[in-house]
Amino acid sequence: MANDVGDRDAPGPMYQLRLYVAGQTAKSLAARANLLKLCEQYLNGRHKIEVIDLLEQPGLARDDQILAIPTLVRCQPEPVKKIIGDLSDTQRVLAGLNIVVR
């Protein structure tokens, strides 16, 4: 399920992100698309995205204490941050991920 996107040689912290979805729902698909777009735009390749479909691996929901779907977890850099929703509100996502827009 891991998607490697980006350029590891770029400067700044490496973002390790995990997106929890449940099947191919509209919200899940939107979240995935929004996340990819946002990373391309603001992280310049300094990111690693892992998408977990809880319908396929329900046992994984416990590890990151997932309730809402979709949930984006910023595993790195610490501290761990969680953003719920389809990530359509870019400003909130950026704020949530502590990504400073230059």
Binding site: L54, P58, Q65, L67, I69, K82, I83, I84, R92, V93
Partner: protein, 598 residues
């Protein structure tokens, strides 16, 4: 209507255990909905069989009233007794905390988790760590609960306390609709769910969950009256089923949770004609010859030290010796102290206890409220089906309630015991000077047999006495009887009835000594007269003998004289004949002995 039977009935052992504990109420209501036994003693009786199967029950209550323990007990009992695995979804305490907390109620949650009977799903919800960016739903929650349910094949689910979600997420409308969806989903899954919720002001729950969960609503409550907290439970609502509507006390202790379906009984208890011997010689005789009626209520009143507890212990021991069971509820002495003290008067309660015939329940009255005490009594009798329940003393209950409240509690106790044919024995402490407590007057109407013990002080000593103040339905003695407490038990003495009434103690001994002396004196007088008579008889006999001797002497003398006279007469005749012969007399004497001379 074939589905009326509760599902619990299918589990053999659970059924037997429940039946043994017995609540006296029908297990199944008259409604058509299927029910599952909660496994919490008493609740199923109040809910007429149990909780609605496959539906959701709301458990509401204030902080600290036992919601979590209650819900956890429901889950664990399901796994233990009814072979219904369960999932405990906790939003607050972690699994380890739950294991620790429920251990104090005697449950080993860790073992149940290890054996796959119960799963704990700890949902840590930290709203501060969450940012919301766009649309979402709570599918993750569904997935987690569903995964846990599938993991243990759960039939029961508890959500404790799901309303925290409402406080943490900004999109409350979404959360509400998701919760509604969750409850529908649980129903579809066929699990019997229980959700806990915080009590709200002016509403059942703070978050209004009762709008979504309306099949069955149970309210827990803990109120403090006179510094004593009493837990109570009420079934607020039960769709499609009749249920008890009162507030019922419940307790949480090391034996788990016990709810007490204290019922208001009518005066229609069966009256047994069977007697229950007291085991105290002569007391049975005083009670119409055979002792108390079974299932009657007995009051033993007396001042401090009059022997109330000893009587109760003796009667309890007698019951045990007949193979019956007794429950002894003591508010003033510990069981050990009772056993020791009773041993000194030859009553072996230790053996009764070892044989499981006597169950002690010792508690300071102020430990619990009156309702809870009644609840404990009910639990004790459910467990051992005794023939006799002793409450010693009822006057101690006045510390925690007014006379009216104590009276009401005793009324329910008597009703409860009578309905099960159990003989109730209360003691009541008279105030010094033998004045009875006001409670005696109040409970008098509840009492079938009243034995009044007292100390009779006279002549510088105190003597124990008893009399039967009343005994309904039997001819009973009206005598005041003295009794002794010896190392062989209680002995009623034969009444000593003197001209001035019954005597006891030293007075009795003195009178008895006097009587003995008088009897001796009378005996001696008889002996004396008898000797006198003997003497007179001897004297008379002596006189008679002397007279006879005199007579014989006289007789002999006279006969001698007679013989001499006769001899002389014969001599005279002989001489005459001889002279006649010599003179040739022609008239010869014939010699016919006739003296011719004189």
């Amino acid at each position: 209507m074939a589905s009326i039977e509760s599902r619990a009935g299918e589990a053999g052992t659970g059924e037997a255990r429940t039946a043994a504990r017995g609540n006296g109420s029908p297990a199944v209501g008259g409604s058509g909905i299927r029910k599952v036994r909660s496994g919490i003693d008493g609740l199923d009786a109040i809910a007429h069989g149990g909780l609605p199967a496959g539906r959701t029950t709301l458990l509401a209550g204030g902080a600290g009233c036992g919601k979590t323990l209650f819900a956890l007990t429901y889950l664990i009992e399901g796994a233990l007794r009814f072979d219904e695995p369960g999932v405990f979804v906790t939003f607050e305490e972690g699994a380890d905390e739950l294991v620790q907390n429920i251990a104090s109620l005697g449950y080993d949650l860790r073992r149940l988790r290890d054996s796959g009977k119960v799963a704990v799903e700890h949902i840590q919800f930290e709203p501060r760590e969450l940012a919301e960016a766009g649309e979402y739903d709570l599918e993750g929650l569904f997935i987690r609960i569903g995964h846990a349910i599938d993991g243990v094949k759960a039939k029961r689910v508890v959500l404790d306390t799901i309303e925290v979600l409402l406080g943490g997420l900004t999109n409350t409308a979404l959360v509400r609709s998701e919760l509604q969806r969750l409850f529908r989903w649980l129903k579809k899954k066929g699990v019997t769910a229980m959700i806990t919720a915080e009590r709200g002001q002016g509403a059942l729950t703070r978050s209004g969950l009762e709008e979504y969960v309306s099949d069955c609503v149970i309210l827990l409550d803990q109120r403090v009256e006179q510094e004593i907290a009493t837990r109570r439970l009420r079934v607020v609502k039960y769709r499609g089923s009749a249920h008890g509507t009162n507030e019922y006390p419940f307790i949480i202790d090391e034996e788990g949770i016990s709810v007490f379906p204290v019922t208001t009984l009518q005066l229609n208890q069966p009256a047994s004609g069977e007697r229950m011997p007291t085991g105290i010689a002569h007391l049975d005789t005083m009670l119409g010859g055979h002792g108390f009626f079974r299932g009657s209520s007995v009051l033993i009143s007396g001042t401090s030290g009059a022997g109330k507890s000893t009587f109760c212990a003796a009667i309890a021991e007698a019951a045990c010796k007949r193979g019956e069971c007794a429950v002894y509820i003591t508010f003033e002495e510990s069981p050990d102290q009772m056993i020791r003290n009773m041993r000194s008067v030859g009553i072996d309660l230790a053996r009764c206890q070892a044989e499981n015939r006597v169950r002690f329940h010792a508690a300071r009255p102020t430990l619990q409220g009156l309702d809870t005490h009644l609840a404990v009594i009910e639990r004790e009798i459910s467990r051992s089906s005794p023939a006799l329940v002793v409450i010693d003393p009822i006057t101690a209950l006045l510390n925690i309630g007014t006379e009216i409240q104590v009276h009401a509690m005793l009324l329910r106790t008597v009703d409860l015991l009578k309905s099960r044919g159990i003989t109730a024995m209360f003691t009541s402490l008279d105030r010094p000077g033998g004045r009875s407590n006001r409670i005696d007057g109040l409970v008098s109407s509840l009492i079938d047999t009243w034995i009044a013990l007292s100390d009779s002080i006279e002549g510088g000593e105190s003597n124990r006495t008893l009399f039967i103040r009343k005994s309904r339905g039997m001819a009973h003695s009206n005598q005041i009887r003295e009794f002794l407490m010896t190392k062989d038990g209680i002995h009623l003495r034969e009444p000593y009835l003197g001209p001035r009434g019954a005597l006891m103690g030293s007075a009795r001994l003195a009178q008895e000594a006097k009587d003995a002396a008088a009897a001796l004196a009378r005996q001696q007088e008889i002996e004396k007269r008898r000797r006198e008579l003997e003497r007179k008889r001897t004297e008379l006999e002596h006189q008679v003998a002397a007279l006879q001797r005199q007579f014989r002497a006289d007789e002999e003398a006279l006969e001698t004289m007679i013989r001499e006279d006769q001899a002389r007469a014969r001599q005279v005749e002989t001489d005459r004949d001889r002279m006649g012969t010599s003179r040739r007399s022609d008239t010869p004497s014939s010699g016919n002995g006739k003296p011719l001379h004189g």
